[in-house]
């Protein structure tokens, strides 16, 4: 049968961000899908090496507008890991609280967008309306609806007032009610069942093979949540106290992805409440002290999955290497597993269901002579080894990578 190619992008009324989809169609059925990104490379990693250690959180906060605290959070964890600093308890609790507030509003934003994608604009508007209360609370806590700038190496950047915490408690109460209403609406609507159940199934094997993270992998039965698998800040204590639990379901379809996100919103509400009730007194930050040579890793469970940051220092006031990996980077390839065999109408949903953030994930794209080439893992390893050896040669350091030659 003759195959049609449906190109969408890179700049297209359907898309919020620049990306380029190529759908190979047979009638309305999608046989194969190709995604090309790299239109919005902003050079964050390079910029970070030109800023001081304390300026970088403000920069990486701008990587994503929605999960804006995830990147600075992972970055300060990386630097603290390198320096071996332990922030005071109050600082840890404040950071975790902001992280969870962000998860609530990010999941509500996704829920609204998902509603919009299936043509259910009422859900879209309502979800965003209830999200406003959370954003108000964020504004009172940090001074901003988004871009909170609350993460700092050695604790939180600012303290939170009791008034703001009381207001947040109230906002959480009303939000719990509305989230439960949404859960009922999603779980009971027969038309939503028809549209979402059994659509775009990502099996457990595929989720593991494609390294999916966060709310893309947990609906497929992969129990992987950084807050649980590698607890940091206040997450370990709250998990032991039973304040929240990790949501895992088995089906891996779009319906489960929606349910996991709504249930996670509820869990985040419970966790926020626990954090406010158990907020310790005392200092909220420590002075980091001297910078020394070394390297550190930090990861945070962002609303979309695991955010990973790596920093290396030569003892100066700037990082000499800063590596960022956004969750969409590993969630994006799952399209290859979940899209083929589905209809165009469903593919729009499936691509939205991973809650993609293409601009956050722009890190590498090779375009030579107008041709875009994709790099395999072997190519990337080869490239990075070559680059490292080149730098070592320039700096006159004895190579540790000879075995890769």
């Amino acid at each position: 049968m003759k195959k049609t190619i449906l190109p969408i992008g890179p700049f297209h009324p359907l898309l919020e961000e620049p990306e380029f989809f190529t759908f190979h169609l047979d009638g309305e059925t999608v046989i194969d899908v190709d995604v090309r990104i790299g239109y919005n490379h902003r050079g964050h990693e390079k910029l970070a090496t030109g800023l001081t250690w304390d300026q970088v959180p403000f920069l990486v906060e701008r990587i994503c507008g929605i999960c804006s605290t995830s990147h600075p959070y992972a970055y300060v964890l990386a630097v603290e890991d390198m320096l071996g600093i332990e922030p005071p308890p109050r600082g840890k609790y404040i950071r975790s609280l902001i992280g969870e507030m962000e998860r609530i509003h990010s999941h509500l934003l996704w829920l609204g967008l998902a509603g919009h994608f299936i043509g259910y604009n009422t859900v879209w508007m309502w979800a965003w309306r209830y999200r406003e209360e959370i954003l108000d609370a964020c504004e009172l806590l940090s001074g901003n609806r988004n871009h909170y700038a609350m993460c700092r190496v050695g604790g939180a950047r600012r303290d939170v007032s009791q008034k703001a915490l009381d207001f947040t408690m109230k906002a959480l109460d009303t939000n719990e009610k509305s989230t439960k209403m949404f859960l009922g609406a999603v779980a009971d609507d027969p038309v939503i069942h028809k549209r979402l159940k059994g659509v775009g199934i990502l099996t457990k094997e595929d989720a593991i093979a494609y390294c999916a993270t966060g709310p893309t992998s947990r609906p497929s039965g992969v129990r992987w949540d950084i807050r649980e698998t590698d607890p940091y800040d206040a997450y370990g204590e709250s998990l032991e106290a039973g304040a929240w639990k990790v949501i895992v379901t088995e089906n891996g379809d779009v319906f489960d992805k929606a349910v996991v996100r709504v249930l996670e919103t509820l869990e985040s509400i419970y966790l926020c409440r626990w954090l406010i009730e158990n907020m310790p007194d005392g200092d909220f930050q420590v002075v980091p002290g001297e910078m020394h040579e070394g390297e550190g890793c930090g990861h945070h469970e962002a609303p979309r999955g695991e955010v990973f940051h790596y920093v290396r220092s030569d003892g100066s006031n700037k990082p000499i290497r800063h590596k960022v990996r956004a969750p969409t980077f590993s969630n994006l390839p799952t399209y290859k597993a979940s899209c083929p065999g589905e209809q165009i109408a469903d593919v729009a949903l499936i691509t939205a269901a991973i809650d993609p953030c293409y601009c956050c994930t722009e890190r590498v794209g090779v375009i030579a002579g107008g041709k875009h080439s994709s790099l395999t893992q072997d190519d990337l390893v080869k490239l990075s080894v070559e680059k490292t050896m080149e730098i070592e040669k320039r700096m006159g350091v004895k190579s540790v990578l000879n075995k890769f030659k």
């Binding site: 297209h12 359907l14 043509g119 165009i344 729009a348």
Partner: protein
Amino acid sequence: MQAFYYLIFPGFLFAAVVGLLTTWLDRKVTARVHYRVGPPWFQSFADVMKLMGKEVILPENARKTGFLLAPIIALAASTLVATMLGLANYLNQGFVGDIIVFWYFLAVPSIMIIIGSASAGTPLSAVGSSREMKLLLGYEVPFIIVLAMVIFRADSLSLGGIIEHQIESGPILYSLSGVIGFIVALLCVQAKLGLVPFDAPEAETELGGGAFYDYSGAALGGFKLSKAILFYSLPIFLITLFWGGVQIGGGLGILWALLKYILIVALITVIRNTNPRLRIDQAVKFFWGWMTILAVIAFILRVKGL
């Protein structure tokens, strides 16, 4: 006089003004449901006026004649639909068998959308076109059975005759077969207007406008106006078939007619705001399955005299 009927009342001008006001009502109610403010009352007029003054962009691969003629024919056909309905309802004019002619012209705007978007020659329009075709084939089946039920019941092949029958022996809606038939017809009207849950041919978030993806300027304005006129005509058509027609004079008269009209428009708006979009295969299955079964049940009930 014929030109007056067609162009001024109850034809083009009247239908367009009422249709655009109805579109505004739909948008305003939708906005209030969404906790938004919504547009001012003249928004729909401003939209069409602006579109009429904009440049029409022709896609490179388009079949220009078909592409540009489609909105004009769609507009002419929907105007004719409004005129025939108005003549039967307000002026008691018509001819035997006019309901069959009416039926033909009611299908023309949809067919024009199919032809127009197919001649645009771009992939998204082509998908929209094929979806519109499937949808048309889907909803026509139950709609025609319901229409046959009404015709048998009224024992007349003209719009005027159906109204007369209802004046004599009460609206068809006030019976079991009438209620079932009305529900089926209402959902078919929803699909004919291309509103959620049956807006797959347009599917803003999948096809970016689908069938209308390549249309711009006055050509798009023609389709919008045609849709607005249908938005006025189809609720009136439902009232004509099931609810005794629009009887001006006598009793509550025009107020009661207006109430019926607004109630049906409100029902359409509520349906469109409380449902997600159905996939096209699901929509066709819905019409050929449940809706056809219900329509046949209504027909059998009618034969039994219920």
